[in-house]
Amino acid sequence: MSARVLVGVKRVIDYAVKIRVKPDRTGVVTDGVKHSMNPFCEIAVEEAVKLKEKKLVKEVVAVSCGPQQVQETIRTALAMGADRGIHVEVSGKDYETLGPLQVSKILAALAKKEQADLIILGKQAIDDDCNQTGQMTAALLDWPQGTFASEVNIEADKLKVVREIDGGLETIKINLPAVVTADLRLNTPRYATLPNIMKAKKKKIANVKPADLGVDVSSRLEVLKVDEPPQRQAGVKVETVHDLVGKLKEAGRI
């Protein structure tokens, strides 16, 4: 198959880091904080690489939008097996206000430019939890979408996607080209092994600006404030079962 897959990867604050709200409450502290690839994006990359290993697609292209540092994230995707990368340069204020709408416009433009047959994204990013980019990209391209995918199979010219939904699992068949968003159980991302890390250094990352793609990255949203969640109250130790029952009654639990 001559298919080309576009995989979007987002650089986010590492999931193990303790998040701090900035003193001016305009956002969270990102300076000097450990960042890494969004876990759902890792799963997306893994799926794309798997498809290539099964010879169902020919080329995997990793894309990320942001400042210089996102090149690290693209390199990680390359080390996992992507063939080349595209760095869409967005920095400063534009980067702070970059959201799903702008990113999906960028991805749609790139998909057309690169003649992609399939776009795989993580279902959502762990920093904003928007869960919108995949859906918006599909809409802009007028492509079908298989979101919350826990299984993806290419059968003839169609995509069979098993989706995780509230009631259980839903299996759909959609035409290619399509957009798929990866859910947790789709796969377990591989560790990038040394030989691949070395090879990745030689792979190309192209630089592109949103303007080159005809995309306006200004935001229509304004963040008013960011607050910490309410502090968790300490538990109370009781001496006897009597006390426990009393306290539960007080709290209106029984």
Binding site: D14, Y15, A16, V17, G32, K34, H35, S36, M37, P39, T188, Y191, A192, T193, L194, P195, I197, M198
Partner: protein
């Protein structure tokens, strides 16, 4: 009996001989004063008969209850977990657990126990591996679990002062928020107390970079056997005024005094931490990788650990962890810690390229993100846990010349043959410290007899230590002669007699039985 002039092997033989003599004289019945332990009577690792300490009376309990209201535990259910060690191989029958909150309370407890001739077993997180942290008989358990205050922290000098019952992981979290870290780290961090770490001179995963507690501990507050409080809680880097008493208590396993507070020098939190997990096809190549690592990563190297293929299969089998690279006979965990991520990555990548192209290393992976780093470290840190699922584990913590480390594992495999289910090796290879573990479905005296004293004689032959970092506790006290000359042990006995004339502090531990 003066055993000073015999070799270790002869001393142990004499020990056995004495036991046999006793048996012949008619002491055949199991002595009710000898508690149940993992080993059979006549084995140097088993407990000796109970020494003539007083027994706890109602009056004693009344005293403790007045001193520590609500913190004098006598409920057998609550006492159970404090009477058994983490490995579940040693069990005592203490009937009293005390939980002081202050140094003053500890002082009053010890003064009272010393007058009454009541034995005391100090206990921190109870994570020790040589049976040193639990009572052997009915010793009163003195727990530091409520002494968990941080006293001061100076963020210019990095000197932390805290009570002995602070859990290591909590201290790490406290420090990390202030941009510092503890100078030591070990698998037991979620449970162990800093007081226990200091009493056992714990080594751990960062010793390679930050040195031992003997260098990083700046001061101690200790309560002596008679209740006197020795406050040497200096917070000075340099202080050459008289004998350095704290060094006596570091590593003394609670037998010379009870540590109640510690002041320790903490390093800055590194800005960039990387972990590489590598596979080697032979131990020789592992050693050469170490050489290369030292040369190319020198100043940023913070850990160099290894595990063998047997360890990896146990991790996969019992803990369902995944091997991130292709199967290899040996695995290395390398950690770098530095102040500049770009510089460190460059050094690390150059090193990795070098060892890959020269085929010293057959495969590997690198992590910079916190989650992945944790995942890679768990492959080394959880081996101990995986082993507990295999039945009964015989643990040996040996220091050897680095080149000889794996020879011991291979010789042991050959020597034991089918008797053992698993013989695995892992540990702080960078420090010359091997953790040799042998498992069998259940405890097996015949297997133990095949392992000991073979393993100790092997170690002694290469002038190694029979306990690199775990200490002697109950299980290894009588093997001290394999690593220390009798003059040294005799002097230790004199110091013990001077500081604790009645011998109430953690009896039956650390020093050999024949010291009396």
């Amino acid at each position: 009996m003066n055993v000073r002039h015999y070799t270790p092997r002869q001393q142990i033989a004499l020990f056995h001989f004495v036991i046999i003599l006793q048996k012949l004289k008619g002491h055949e019945e199991v002595n009710p004063e000898t508690p149940y332990t993992s080993d059979t009577v006549g084995n140097p690792g088993a407990a000796p008969p109970r020494l003539p300490f007083s027994r706890v009376t109602q009056e004693d309990l009344a005293f403790f209850r007045t001193l520590l209201p609500g913190r004098t535990i006598t409920d057998p259910d609550l006492l159970k977990s404090s009477n058994v060690d983490w490995l579940k191989t040693v069990e005592g029958n203490s009937e009293v657990l005390l939980r002081p909150k202050t140094t003053e309370e500890v002082s009053q407890i010890l003064r009272y126990c010393n007058e009454r001739n009541l034995a005391v077993c100090p206990q921190g997180g109870n994570t020790g591996l040589v049976g040193g942290s639990v009572p052997v008989f009915d010793e009163i358990i003195l727990s530091t679990s409520l002494m968990k205050q941080v006293i001061t922290f100076d963020n210019i000098s990095g000197i932390l002062t805290c009570q002995a019952g602070c859990v290591l992981e909590n201290l790490s979290n406290y420090l990390e928020e202030r941009d510092f870290i503890m100078p030591l780290d070990l698998g037991a961090k979620g449970s162990c107390h800093i007081g226990g770490n200091v009493s056992t001179n714990a080594g751990g995963l960062r010793l390679l970079r930050y040195g031992s507690l003997r260098g990083t501990v700046l001061g101690l507050e200790v309560v002596l056997a008679d209740g006197r409080i020795l406050n040497c809680l200096a917070t000075l880097r340099k202080d050459n005024t008289g004998y350095d008493l704290k060094q006596l208590f570091i590593g003394s396993e609670g037998t010379l005094g009870v540590i109640t507070a510690v002041s320790i020098l903490c390093p800055r939190k590194p800005k960039a931490v990387n972990v590489a997990f590598l596979g080697c096809s032979s131990f020789q190549q592992l050693l050469e990788t170490f050489q290369c690592c030292r040369g190319m990563l020198g100043e940023i190297l913070s850990a160099f650990e290894f595990l063998d293929a047997s360890c990896m299969s146990l991790l996969e089998k019992h803990l369902k962890l995944t091997n991130p690279i292709t199967e290899s006979p040996f695995y290395i965990v390398i950690e770098t810690a530095g102040s500049n991520a770009t510089h460190d990555e460059e050094k690390l990548h150059k090193f990795l390229e070098e060892v890959m192209t020269s085929s010293l290393v057959t495969d590997g992976t690198v992590a910079t993100e916190a989650t992945k780093i944790k995942a890679l470290w768990s492959l080394r840190e959880r081996v101990t846990e995986a082993l507990t699922h295999e039945g009964y584990t015989y643990k040996y913590d040996i220091s050897l010349p680095v080149e000889k480390i794996y020879d011991l594992v291979q010789d042991m495999r050959g020597h034991l043959g089918d008797m053992a289910k698993n013989v695995v090796g892992y540990g702080h290879v960078g420090d010359g410290n091997l953790h040799l573990n042998i498992t069998s479905p259940s405890k097996d005296p015949a297997l133990l007899a095949a392992i000991e004293p073979y393993v100790y004689e092997w170690t002694s032959k290469w002038k190694g230590s029979i306990s690199a970092e775990h200490g002697l506790g109950l299980k290894k006290r009588n093997y001290i002669y394999y690593s220390k000359p009798s003059e040294a042990v005799a002097l230790m006995g004199s110091i013990k007699a001077m500081l604790d004339p009645k011998g109430i502090l953690n009896p039956y531990k650390t020093l050999p039985d024949n010291i009396h």
